[in-house]
């Protein structure tokens, strides 16, 4: 059992109990079991306390204990005021070490998971629907190839015994990393370590060898047909770069320049939203970043051994959807072929050097990043980024862009009410001019005439339309 400790003098104490256990371990037909197991621990009762009693005990402390499940890790986390540390720890240690496995908790949480997929994603959030489905599309027939919550079919068949088995098999000392930060008293960390070491069996590491994702050839597209106002578009492809790869800092710069999350400094935002008014924003990623419409900073502890490069185009009016897709691909190609200028490189590097302070501004975030640095085997995050950025040159960045990014072999997911006409227009390769409320300057119009004809080399056998009711179904 490893420990990551960040003691300080704050009146708050943050826990992050991380298990190297994730949805990639879900057996076939049991997709979602890792998530449901974590939910039973963080949102169900213990052997002694019902979930109602836990909620009532936590309420006066105004704190929570939540779980987050990703492909390769599950983290249980919460922060308490030091006044309440003892009481809080008593509860959360029981939740993780002595879950109650009640049938009524199971029924409630399984239904929550099904409704999360059916209603929250499929019904009420076209953007996240498209972004998540892009992962399923790229990782078809791969341990990453289903949503962390599972599929509706597998969840409907899941039993309490499945969840208990999963817990017994994977919640072991070998998989646990204990993270603790804040003004906890001397000896407290030792006590937590002893409690967990005594209650869990040693077990074996659950790490598995990940297969390679499928090769993509040409533009491959899945269009989700849904009655909705806007057209949401996401596209991407696998990259071999994670934080442990030497090119990560270079791609971090490239990604920030092209599409810094929710920032008007994002180049894609500039070209699509700012100049052309196409939508609300456009961004690029080299790491998994869920719930981006609700938050400005990524959550920690979503570390993966395999990542994709991704572009997120927020909903556009259907009449401009194909233009928007072309525009984003055009900009990506320009980056790949032309690279970053010395000036853009310098300003982005400077931005990121300071921005890492913002990313790690809370104690809980610092702890989360520290745990991720352990996973990737890199120095503490701020130090790592600053040090690598210092040594980086524009040539390094442009070499990394050419090595890892491209605009030819890409998977695209589109959510739209006009699925058939969109596919027809995309495959026809006819120009798709943008329709403006107020035309911009001549320089932009001139570029538009190029973008509207941007050649779309679709792999016709890999273009499909799927009704929204079939997504996450099985």
């Amino acid at each position: 059992m490893e420990r990551v400790l960040l003691p300080n003098s704050s009146p708050l104490v943050s826990f992050r109990l991380l298990f190297d256990v994730g949805s990639a371990l879900d057996p076939a037909g049991k997709e979602g079991v890792a998530s449901l197991t974590a939910a039973m621990m963080a949102a169900g009762g213990t052997r002694r306390l019902s979930y109602e009693e836990i909620v009532r005990a936590m309420y006066p402390m105004a704190t929570t204990f939540l779980s987050q499940v990703d492909k390769e890790m599950t983290v249980f986390f919460g922060t308490t005021h030091i006044d309440n540390l003892e009481k809080y720890y008593q509860i959360i240690s029981r939740m993780t070490l002595d879950p109650g496995w009640r049938e009524d908790d199971f029924a409630r949480l399984r239904e929550d998971a099904i409704n999360f997929l059916k209603v929250n994603l499929r019904g009420n959030n076209d953007e996240e629907l498209g972004k998540e489905e892009l992962y399923n599309f790229i990782y078809r027939d791969h341990p990453y190839g289903h949503h962390n919550a599972g599929t509706i079919r597998s969840l409907e068949r899941m039993t309490l015994a499945d969840v208990k088995n999963f817990y017994r098999q994977h919640y072991t000392r070998s998989n646990l990393v204990m993270g603790l930060a804040g003004g906890y008293p001397k000896g407290f960390d030792e006590r937590v370590a002893t409690d967990f070491a005594e209650a869990l069996t040693e077990g074996q590491s659950s790490k598995i060898e990940m297969s390679e994702p499928e090769k993509i050839s040409g533009l491959e597209m899945r269009v989700i047909s849904k009655d909705t106002r806007g057209t949401a578009i996401s596209f991407g492809f696998p990259i071999t770069v994670t934080r442990s790869h030497k090119d990560w800092p270079a791609l971090f710069v490239a990604q920030s320049w092209l599409g810094q999350h929710r920032s008007s400094n994002s180049h894609l935002y500039q070209r699509l939203r700012h100049i052309r008014g196409l939508n609300y924003g456009d961004y690029a990623y080299i790491e998994y970043f869920p719930h981006g419409m609700f938050q400005f900073y990524p959550d920690a502890n979503l570390a993966r051994s395999q990542q994709i490069f991704q572009v997120w185009i927020r909903p556009v009016e259907p009449q401009n959807a194909l233009f928007a897709l072309r525009c984003a691909l055009f900009e990506l190609r320009k980056l790949v072929e032309g690279g970053l200028s010395e000036e853009d490189f310098e300003s982005t590097r400077l931005f990121l050097r300071k921005f890492v302070n913002v990313l790690t501004r809370t104690q809980d975030a610092q702890l989360g990043y520290a745990l991720d640095s352990r996973y990737f085997g890199i120095p503490p995050f701020i130090e790592y980024v600053r040090d690598r950025l210092e040594k980086l040159t524009v040539d390094d960045v442009n070499r990394a862009i050419r090595a890892h990014l491209q605009a030819d072999d890409v998977r695209i997911v589109v959510v739209t009410k006009e699925a058939e006409s969109f596919v027809e227009a995309a495959l026809s390769n006819n120009p798709s001019p943008i329709i403006y409320a107020s035309p911009p300057g001549e320089d932009v119009l001139e570029e538009d005439r190029v973008i509207e004809k941007y050649p779309l080399r679709f792999n016709r056998s890999a273009v499909e339309i799927i009704g929204v009711e079939n997504i996450f179904q099985e």
Binding site: E52, E111, G123, G277, L350, V358
Partner: protein, 421 residues
């Protein structure tokens, strides 16, 4: 004291207020500029959504600093910046490294005093606002709140959401001249408070404020916000929803305006928590035991004028909509006859106290928490006064408040369902 930071308030002769809060968190400074105008100020018909539109336009440049230049300087400062609009305020915030304090002050002062947006840029930005409406449109909560407000208010500007009526949003591209008027009215020092939190000293903050913000001219516009007459009967609405979703029921009562002096508002906030938080008997019943509902929550946002206590439930089966709605209204009724147990009330007060304390874990979060109160009263002291009032509320106060406010004639109910009724 719940807000225990040492702070200084300085007022410039032009009416601009500056609140400086030095903290121990190193390197970082959070600047929140609070303009006391929001969708509440949109008093003219056909012109809803302009406070929010301005939140966008403020990033569209000045003569001295084009958007590109502004973005570039902000980027070099490693700044994290954004803005948001509510009914009562518009807030521009930026978090950056302390060595860039002067740069940021100059840049922000420039756009607040000398914003210059061309007609073409204006039109392009209005399309981004429509894009924002569109990306929200697949979420039924937004629609529920839009319909609830339209139903619950008659003439008061809380009738429309901060996004504005869709027809007004669609018409925005033709409203350039009005946008200039809006800026002239409200982007004035007497409407504005700057909150500076972090690794800063007050003297340096004031030197820079005087230098860059001292020339800003006071305005003279005061809006007449129409007030509604007393609601005299229950109002209801139903929304048929085109996409797959679970049904919703929303129950709302007119509540009191924000106050840090009288008990009604504090009592209503505590009641929301007693009745509808995850700690409440109703939540335990509907969500945990009966499992008929998968989300139940309340919201009672502080507002300058009387607004709504809103309770929302997402229901798993259409056949239970009436049942859930009745359970919610019964819970409200219950508070009129039976005062809550003292221990329950203490648990809720403790939750509020620790919840606020836990949220103040970095300079940006402190400034963000302050901004909401500064929009209402322009001083952080209102936070301490409010929490004192919470402390004074007794079980009997809850009962008395309930008798006054939870009259069915003050109620508005909105339901939403994919299945036909």
């Amino acid at each position: 004291m719940i807000f225990a930071y040492d702070y200084r308030i300085d007022d410039l002769p032009n009416g601009l207020r500056v609140i400086t809060v030095p903290t121990d968190y190193p390197n970082i400074v959070a600047l929140y500029i609070v303009v006391q105008t929001g969708s509440r100020n949109e008093v003219e018909p056909g012109k809803s959504g302009f406070a929010h539109l301005f939140e966008h336009l403020m990033f569209r440049g000045t003569e001295k600093y084009s958007t590109e230049k502004y973005d570039e300087i902000m980027k070099l400062a490693g700044a994290d910046r954004n803005a948001y609009t509510t009914d009562d305020r518009t807030v521009y915030h930026v978090t950056f490294s302390k060595e860039d304090l002067e740069t940021i002050f100059e840049l922000e002062a420039d756009r607040f005093q000398r914003l210059k947006v061309s007609v073409d840029l204006f039109k392009t930005e209005t399309k981004a606002v429509l894009g924002e409406y569109n990306k929200n449109a697949s979420n039924p909560i937004n629609k529920l709140i839009e319909v609830l407000r339209d139903k619950a208010f008659d003439t008061h500007t809380y009738k429309h959401t901060t996004m504005g009526f869709l027809s007004d949003v669609e018409n925005m591209p033709s409203m350039y001249d009005y946008s200039l008027e809006f800026f002239n009215r409200y982007y004035r020092p007497e409407y504005t408070t700057m909150i500076v939190v972090g690794d800063v000293e007050r003297d340096e903050v004031m030197r820079l404020t005087n230098r860059y913000w001292g020339e800003w001219q006071r305005g003279d516009y005061r809006p007449e916000i129409p007030s509604d007459s007393e609601q005299m009967e229950e109002r209801t609405a139903h929304i048929p929803w085109p996409a797959e979703t679970l049904p919703w029921a929303v129950v709302a009562y007119k509540g009191p305006a924000y106050s840090d002096e009288t008990k009604d508002m504090a009592a209503m906030e505590l009641t929301g928590s007693l009745g509808f938080s995850e700690n409440s008997p109703l939540y335990q019943q509907l969500v945990i035991r009966e499992q008929k509902v998968d989300a139940l929550f309340y919201s009672f946002e502080d507002h300058l004028d009387p607004y709504l206590l809103i309770v929302a439930a997402r229901i798993k089966d259409s056949k239970d909509i009436s049942y859930v709605k009745d359970k919610i209204t019964e819970t409200f009724e219950g508070f009129k006859s039976v005062a809550p147990a003292a221990a329950e009330l203490e648990s809720v007060k403790s939750h509020l106290k620790y919840g606020f304390a836990l949220s103040l874990d970095n300079s940006d979060a402190i400034a963000a928490a302050m901004a909401a109160y500064i929009g209402l009263r322009r001083t952080p002291e209102t936070i301490n006064r409010l929490f004192e009032v919470y402390g004074l509320v007794t079980p009997d106060d809850i009962r008395e408040m309930a008798a006054k406010y939870f009259d069915h004639r003050r109620r508005t109910v909105v339901t939403l369902d994919h299945n036909p009724r």
